[in-house]
């Protein structure tokens, strides 16, 4: 059938325009061959037939394509579609390679993988990777299909949406509130990691058969913006659920964690039946009292400023409500308070009334006793005043003066021991003197920071921080909290968490970090002073910084940004130049850290640009500080790090010329540091790390392997000389892992040199194999030290043995072109703080 349709077009149109009944006659009258006439009739018949098989065929084919496309993803087999969200489709799937059938939920972008969609799914993966909570559906796996579609495998929750579950089980109020508690916990966990869910609603909360609650769908969740502390505005698509989204979200204004509080309030309202449940859900309403109604109203107040400031605050008020204590949300009247008081203390109030009467009888005696106690206290106070002054001068004074003075390492270690002994003795004499107790807590806090700097045995650091925490608690049991107790508690919790992480007690570290962050982010009715503002920022910084605390790299970056914002606030409150310089040093540290982390996010060119900007800012700040304090060990050590950061970023951007220049500057600063103090342990560690980074950069730049092996040997010598107190610490494992990996890579490259004898080449390959194995063994000893930056090292270690074997096999077969593996080894360095 190859007749050009043009021949029929004119006739076809005219005939189509005629009423159907006249067409046959008109067709017969046309001057056409029999064949042409038959063709035209066929065309008219086909046109008259309303059926459109084309559409049907194409739709079925497309369906088939979809079905084939999503049949298998990685190790998972898709079973059926279980949900459609804003951006993605969720499938039930099961693992096919394991011995047991693990069911998972697979999330795929629907349809066309737009850049926005890809960005979101990547972000969801990042966000989920940083969350680890029993009430949040867990991320299990992720990958990309052959045609570039990303997917996520999530914990599959076989359960009912919250309201449907409640309708089925008709729980009592206490049970409903317990369900809500679990949601609150999940949200609080997310908020502490700077994640805003943005779509909290009953449909995104599932309850399984065991009654466990899981919060789902972080598909439109956001990290708090790196710079503003608010979720950055979504310019592309504003997605939200009416009825649950806060007014600010609906209006496209900036969304914060407090916007989630609004949604939580709406959810609670439906859960307890304060508002009608959505159509289709028959949820029996409960009689609602004014306090609970007040809590709901406060949580979902249209004005964010009137809502609870955090999930923790909302939880607190619900706890009060359950305990029968006055809730914050209720309008506080005397009568309300009294009524509440009597209800909770029905028994206790009765007893007090009796006791009061009895007390009156012995009033005189009590007064006498009080007078005695006061004069004893005066004597005690004099003594305590003396020792306190001594303690303060000793810890804050002496340490502050010598801690950055060159050549005082040994003295500091001695002082540290003396200091702890001194504090212990004082503590036993402190009695009830709350001021002294707080001074002691301060002292322990200071000592544990110094221990951190000196790489003291982590177990001992834990002990010091615990002492501080105990002392604060002792005081808080007696007195209402003040800015000082708040600061000291925050500081003690932070130090404790850091020490525990260093000791490898990650569960405990996590708990204490959670507590510290809760404090760091809770508002107080009084404005902060400098110490508290700085301590808040410090908590964020340490949380982001500690190895072994699992956070997605971008979450760490966001936390560093949060810390930087906090330090900036503290800077305004700082009363002295020293305090301001201190804060600048901390801001530089946050920049340097985030620059290095952003290097791990190379897929996004914006991140690389940001990495360079951050590295340069850190360097600028440190250079200014160094100029003001040319003999300060800390500032010089941090300047070395900042310069090394710029070098690393430049190298990773492929700007080897600039990187070499920056490394030369780094070495120059480091030489000055060594002249000032040859024994600074932190400097020794950083020197080794920067050395590795430089060798790795040259390796990737295609440097001559023999020369680089020589540099590695020099670094190995430095490792052998690290101070004894470091010798059994985890950081050493990371160093040795780098050493082995780099040496293996370089030997493998050397072994491709055709100028060498075959036996020699084989020996080099064997040596590389040996190094890969030893490197892997070191990593196994301290896996938590492998952060996002070091993933590439791991990859080299993993693939190394296979590459060596392949290359040995290739030698057996005959000559092959050398393979230039362009990979990199990351390194992390520690700032002196």
């Amino acid at each position: 059938m190859s007749a050009p349709l043009d021949r029929y077009a004119g006739h076809f149109e005219r005939l189509c325009a005629l009423p159907a009944a006249e067409r046959a006659a008109a067709l017969a009258a046309l001057p056409l061959t029999a064949q042409e006439r038959a063709m035209l009739r066929e065309l008219l018949d086909a046109d008259a037939d309303a059926d459109d098989p084309l559409t049907q065929v194409l739709a079925d084919s497309a369906d088939g394509l979809m079905a084939e496309r999503v049949q298998r993803l990685g190790p998972y087999r898709l079973l059926r579609e279980i949900g459609v969200g804003g951006m993605g489709t969720v499938f039930l799937a099961e693992r096919v390679d394991g011995g047991f059938a693990q069911r998972v939920a697979i999330k795929l972008l629907r349809g066309f993988p737009t850049r926005e969609g890809l960005r979101r799914l990547r972000q969801e993966r990042q966000i989920l990777a940083g969350l680890d909570h029993p009430n949040i559906a867990r991320l299990l796996d992720g990958g990309e299909t052959a045609d570039g579609q990303p997917w996520l495998a999530l914990e599959h929750i076989d359960g009912l949406p919250l309201l449907a579950w409640a309708a089925q089980h008709a729980p009592r109020l206490a049970q409903r509130l317990a369900l809500f508690d679990a949601v609150l916990d999940a949200v609080a966990h997310a908020h502490q990691r700077l994640v805003i869910h943005r779509d909290i609603k009953p449909a995104n909360v599932l309850v399984n058969a065991a009654g466990e609650v899981k919060l789902l769908d972080f598909g439109i969740a956001r990290l708090l913006d790196l710079d503003t502390g608010q979720a950055s505005r979504d310019t592309s698509t504003r997605v939200f659920t009416l009825g649950y989204a806060s007014p600010e979200q609906r209006e496209g204004r900036a969304v914060t964690t407090i916007s989630d509080i609004y949604s939580l309030g709406r959810l609670l309202a439906e859960l307890v039946g304060a508002t009608a449940a959505p159509a289709g859900v028959a949820l029996p309403a409960l009689p609602l009292d004014t306090e609970l109604a007040g809590i709901i109203a406060k949580a979902s107040d249209p004005d964010p400023a009137h809502r609870y400031a955090s999930a923790g605050e909302l939880r607190d008020d619900l706890d009060r409500y359950r305990d029968g204590r006055p809730v914050r949300a209720a309008r506080v009247t005397r009568w309300y308070r009294l009524r509440k008081f009597v209800r909770r203390h029905r028994l206790a109030v009765a007893l007090t009334s009796l006791a009061s009467a009895a007390l009156l009888a012995s009033w005189g005696y009590a007064l006498y006793q009080a007078g005695e106690a006061r004069s004893q206290a005066r004597r005690a106070a004099r003594h305590a005043g003396d020792v306190r002054e001594l303690a303060n001068r000793f810890i804050s004074g002496i340490f502050a003066q010598i801690v950055d003075v060159p050549g005082t390492q040994a003295a500091q270690l001695t002082l540290l021991d003396t200091g702890i002994e001194y504090l212990n003795r004082l503590q036993s004499e402190a009695g009830d003197d709350t001021d002294l107790l707080l001074d002691l807590a301060d002292g322990y806090n200071t000592l544990s920071r110094i221990q951190r700097r000196l790489y003291t045995d982590p177990a001992r650091r834990v002990g010091t921080a615990q002492q501080a925490l105990q002392l604060v608690e002792q005081v808080e049991a007696r007195l209402p909290p003040t800015a000082r107790t708040y600061t000291l508690r925050l500081s003690a919790l932070t130090e404790l968490a850091c020490a525990e992480a260093a000791a490898g007690e990650f569960a405990a570290a996590r708990t204490h970090f959670d507590a510290a962050l809760g404090l760091a982010r809770a508002p107080r009715s009084q404005p902060d002073d400098f110490a508290l503002a700085r301590q808040r920022a410090e908590a964020e910084f340490q949380f982001a910084d500690e190895a072994g605390i699992e956070l997605a790299p971008l979450q760490r970056v966001a936390l560093y940004a949060q810390a930087a914002a906090g330090y900036t606030t503290a800077r305004v409150l700082a009363g002295t130049d020293t305090a301001r310089d201190d804060v600048d040093d901390s801001i530089a540290a946050t920049r340097m850290k985030s620059a290095r982390l952003l290097l791990g996010e190379r897929a996004d060119p914006q991140h690389l640009a940001k990495a360079m900007a951050h590295a340069e800012e850190a360097l600028r700040l440190q250079q200014a500080l160094y100029q003001r304090h040319p003999r300060s060990l800390r500032h010089l050590a941090n300047l070395v790090l900042a310069a090394g950061g710029v070098a690393k970023v430049a190298g990773r951007l492929g700007d080897y010329g600039r990187a070499r220049e920056a490394y030369a500057i780094t070495r120059d600063y480091d030489a000055r540091l060594q002249r000032l103090d040859p024994d600074l342990p932190v400097a020794a560690v950083n020197r080794i790390a920067l050395g590795f980074e430089q060798v790795d950069m040259e390796r990737r730049a295609g440097g001559e392997p023999t020369a680089l092996l020589g540099q590695l040997a020099a670094i190995e010598g430095q490792i052998a000389q690290v101070p004894a107190e470091l010798a059994d610490q985890r950081v050493l494992h990371a160093m040795r892992a780098w050493l082995h990996t780099l040496r293996a890579e370089l030997n493998l490259r050397r072994s491709e040199d055709p100028a060498l004898a075959a036996s020699e080449r084989r020996a080099l390959k064997q040596e590389a194999l040996h190094d890969y194995e030893r490197g892997a063994a070191q990593i196994a000893l301290a896996p938590e030290l492998v952060g996002a930056e070091e993933q590439a090292t791991l990859e080299l270690l993993r693939s190394g043995p296979a590459r060596v074997r392949a290359s040995l096999a290739a030698m057996q077969r005959g000559p092959t072109p050398a393979r230039g593996a362009a990979r990199h080894v990351g390194a992390s360095a520690r700032s002196t703080r």
Binding site: D6, E13, G64, P113, P605
Partner: protein, 188 residues
């Protein structure tokens, strides 16, 4: 083509193709192919059975992919590439399924998925449509393109008119005749 460099690349390729560079067209097809597989699945599935409405989603996706800076002419060209690629994707899939079946190669399809797969008759119909379109294109390029843009590209009649630089009336007439002709080809 998910990064800035990729977009730039597409623009360059489109320009080269407009200048008559056939290799650029091939390269473009290759680049677009992968993403169009997804469009095909999405847009055709969403298509109501009775009418051939424009598929907004695929368009939006294309526009996002291309970015707003893209020249209007380039956009029209891109639609053509996308429609061609979609057709190619569907035909390839149908051929593969049929040859799997004939060769006895286990299709390795799970039960639930198998229900969603087209029958061999459907696959053969699709191949017949493809063949008929190729025959048509050899001496009636414009009508073949109208069909391709509407059915495989999901374009509206006004967009087809703009893309082919003809009036909407012409598009309507071409579409009606070519569709009738394809139906007869399917019946044969």
């Amino acid at each position: 083509m998910r990064d800035a460099a990729g977009d730039h690349d597409i623009t360059r390729l489109l320009a080269a193709w407009r200048e008559g560079d056939e290799q650029a067209r091939e390269a473009l097809m290759q680049r677009v192919y992968v993403n169009v597989r997804a469009i095909a699945a999405q847009s055709l599935r969403a298509m109501p059975a009775a009418t051939l409405s424009a598929t907004d989603l695929a368009h939006e996706a294309l526009l996002r992919l291309l970015g707003s800076e893209l020249d209007w002419n380039d956009r029209q060209h891109f639609y053509r590439v996308a429609a061609q690629a979609t057709r190619q994707v569907l035909v390839d899939a149908a051929r593969r399924r049929l040859s799997d079946k004939r060769g006895g190669g286990a299709p390795h399809v799970e039960l639930d998925v198998a229900q969603a797969l087209p029958t061999p008759e459907r696959d053969e119909q699709l191949l017949r449509i493809d063949e008929a379109l190729r025959a048509l294109a050899s001496d009636d390029a414009r009508r073949a393109q109208v069909i391709e843009l509407v059915y495989f590209g999901g374009l509206s009649r006004s967009e087809v008119a703009a893309t082919l630089a003809v009036s909407e009336g012409t598009v309507d007439r071409d579409l009606r005749l070519a569709r009738a002709w394809l139906k007869t080809a399917l019946r044969a």
